[in-house]
């Protein structure tokens, strides 16, 4: 962190920092300091730049600056077909890549007007919930590491490695695996993957209890987090928070129950909410949500039917390789889909799923061509980050780290 004067910062940012001040000194920055928690920082969860205006140790105003990881996703989507964009959706929220794949596949299927077969949908549910557990484990681990408890980070990463092993067996890649396809999934779940998933959920709860025993009654942990970054339910909805940050303020809003997708309305689980609205409540929400995910995975593994994993509709869905090499019709359809893309009807849809970070939405506008005319990605981390200036006002610098960690932003998705 370096001290900079107001001549080093862009004038528009200085204007934003000095806004709504109730200080009547002539030069407001004489007694105060602008501190730059720069894009490269151990505790800002990626490349986020926070410009803080400090009065001693307490923060008077804060201006976040994004855009250090802006890779131009929306412009890229306008130039690629729907199939070609699947690997790009992996890199959005890179802690839970499977969940983004499922979100994109659901959005395009809604636009085209098809539905994947039941076995594919059950497998999609299983990998979404595994992605949720993986993401929350990293969130808890790095959050605890920022507060100072280094051991918890290593233990949660060890659990996460087991989930990455399951994905490795399932589709060949540990991480950023583009597993879903439009109309189903890439390949079937092998028996080893299912057995490993069963073994994982049986031994997960004890390991989570072990990590929680270190933290839940730890005096330092609780005193550092209780009452820090409080936001009420009304304000949270006003600011657009979704996901665990909203459920930690008492609002019971979960897209898996309000607008169910896949087979979530057949599953029996509860939505975890805590009414306090501080950082400790958000941490508890995440830890308990992983337990609910274990319940869902257990039910999925019991109820999974046998059957196809890719829809059999050659005009819209890439047909299987064995049929392409032996039948003429399928060969023609494969050629058309790969070269020109699936041609959906003219129109626009918005489809949202419940990602581990919040609500991930895709707004796709189609003019009947093989590539979208416009694709907007509504990322939860972008909207969650907007609440930082509200939560930080009046607190000290060390609380900034705790608050950013409890909101759990991922810059790959906030910067698109």
């Amino acid at each position: 962190m370096e001290k900079i004067t107001k001549n080093d910062v862009h004038p528009k940012i200085v204007e934003a920092l000095l806004r709504d001040t109730n200080i009547t000194v002539e030069d407001a920055l004489e007694n105060e300091m602008i501190l730059n928690m720069g894009p490269q920082h151990p505790a800002t969860h990626g490349v986020l730049r926070l410009l803080l205006r400090l009065d001693g140790e307490s923060v008077v105003a804060c201006v976040p600056e994004l855009g250090y990881l802006h890779r131009g996703y929306e412009k890229l989507a306008e130039n690629m077909s729907f199939y070609e964009f699947i690997p790009h959706t992996d890199r959005l929220d890179y802690l839970a890549p499977m969940a983004n794949n499922v979100a994109w596949a659901l959005a395009v299927e809604k636009l085209i007007g098809i539905e994947a077969p039941p076995r594919a949908q059950y497998i999609r549910m299983m990998i979404s919930e595994l992605a949720r557990i993986a993401s929350h484990l990293v969130a808890i681990g790095s959050f605890a590491m920022d507060i100072g408890a280094l051991t918890v980070f290593l233990w949660t990463l060890r659990e996460r490695e087991k989930i990455l092993d399951i994905w490795d067996i399932l589709c060949g890649a540990r991480f950023t695996n583009s597993f879903t396809r439009i109309g189903g999934i890439a390949n079937d779940a092998q028996p080893e993957a299912i057995a490993k998933a069963k073994w994982f959920i049986d031994q997960y709860e004890e390991n989570l209890d072990e990590c929680e025993r270190l933290l839940n009654s730890n005096r330092i942990f609780i005193e550092r987090l209780e009452g820090v970054g409080v936001i009420s339910g009304e304000d949270a909805v006003e600011l657009g928070l979704t996901g665990p940050s909203l459920r930690g303020s008492g609002v019971e809003f979960d897209l898996r129950i309000s607008k169910p997708y896949l087979f979530y309305n057949d599953m029996d689980f509860k939505v975890v909410t805590y009414p306090e609205g501080d950082s400790l409540a958000r941490y508890f929400v995440r830890a308990d949500e992983t337990r609910e995910s274990i319940k869902i995975i257990r039910q999925v593994l019991e109820k999974m039917p046998l059957g196809d994993i890719l829809l059999n509709q050659p005009k819209k869905v890439l047909p299987k390789k064995t049929e392409i090499y032996s039948k003429m019709e399928e060969l023609i359809h494969d050629f058309m889909i790969v070269n020109f893309g699936v041609n959906p009807p003219v129109g626009d849809i918005y489809s949202a799923v419940e990602n581990p970070k919040g609500e991930l939405g895709f707004y796709i506008v189609s003019k009947g061509e093989g590539h979208p005319w416009k694709c907007k990605i509504r990322s939860p981390s972008f909207v969650n980050l907007q609440s930082i200036p509200h939560l930080i006002k009046g607190r000290m610098i060390s609380d900034v780290v705790a608050i950013v960690g409890s909101l759990d932003p991922v810059m790959g998705e906030a910067d698109k």
Partner: protein, 163 residues
């Protein structure tokens, strides 16, 4: 669900008789198109009404149609937690006089979303508390998501440090 759609259509027509609404439905979602000068009133009514309560603003974005008349369309997606219903609002914006009123006084979420739309498309939002660029550096002169901006960028527009 269809009764809620009819309720919304009825309420909007009753309250804003002079405004010309165009309702359309695609894949079971309702879209309302209206003139850009009524944006703030319609949004405030939808948020404050007791039965509707569209308190969560999910998304604000724009579409560039690349045509000479009414080049842009600004799209708002709002959600009502009480009824579990999502609504899309649209307003056309012309290229000359490329501006529309800001709804950040109605929903706080729209603050950053509108800044992002300004950064990417160049649409100015009147009465916005803090209209700055979001992703691109302040010195950048172009608007990336417009259809006349090439994918690889314009050489020289973004400086790189020397080796």
């Amino acid at each position: 669900m269809s009764s809620l759609k009819e309720l919304i259509i009825q309420k909007l027509k009753d309250k804003f008789g002079s405004v010309n609404f165009e309702f359309s439905e695609f894949r079971d979602e309702l879209t309302v198109l209206f003139d850009k000068k009524n944006v703030v009133e319609v949004c405030r009514f939808l948020k404050d009404d007791n039965e509707l309560q569209f308190k969560l603003c999910e998304d604000v974005t724009a579409i560039d149609w690349a045509r000479s008349k009414n080049r842009f369309t600004v799209v708002y997606h709002i959600y009502s937690i009480k009824n579990g219903f999502r609504l899309a609002l649209k307003a056309d914006v012309d290229e000359s006089g490329c501006s529309i009123d800001s709804v950040s006084s109605v929903w706080e979420t729209a603050n950053w979303e509108e800044r992002e739309t300004y950064d990417m498309y160049g649409i100015i939002f009147n009465n916005h508390p803090d209209l700055r660029r979001m992703y691109m550096p302040e010195e950048f002169e172009y608007y990336p998501l417009r259809k006349d901006f090439p994918l690889m960028g314009i050489p020289g527009s973004n400086p790189l440090p020397k080796k």
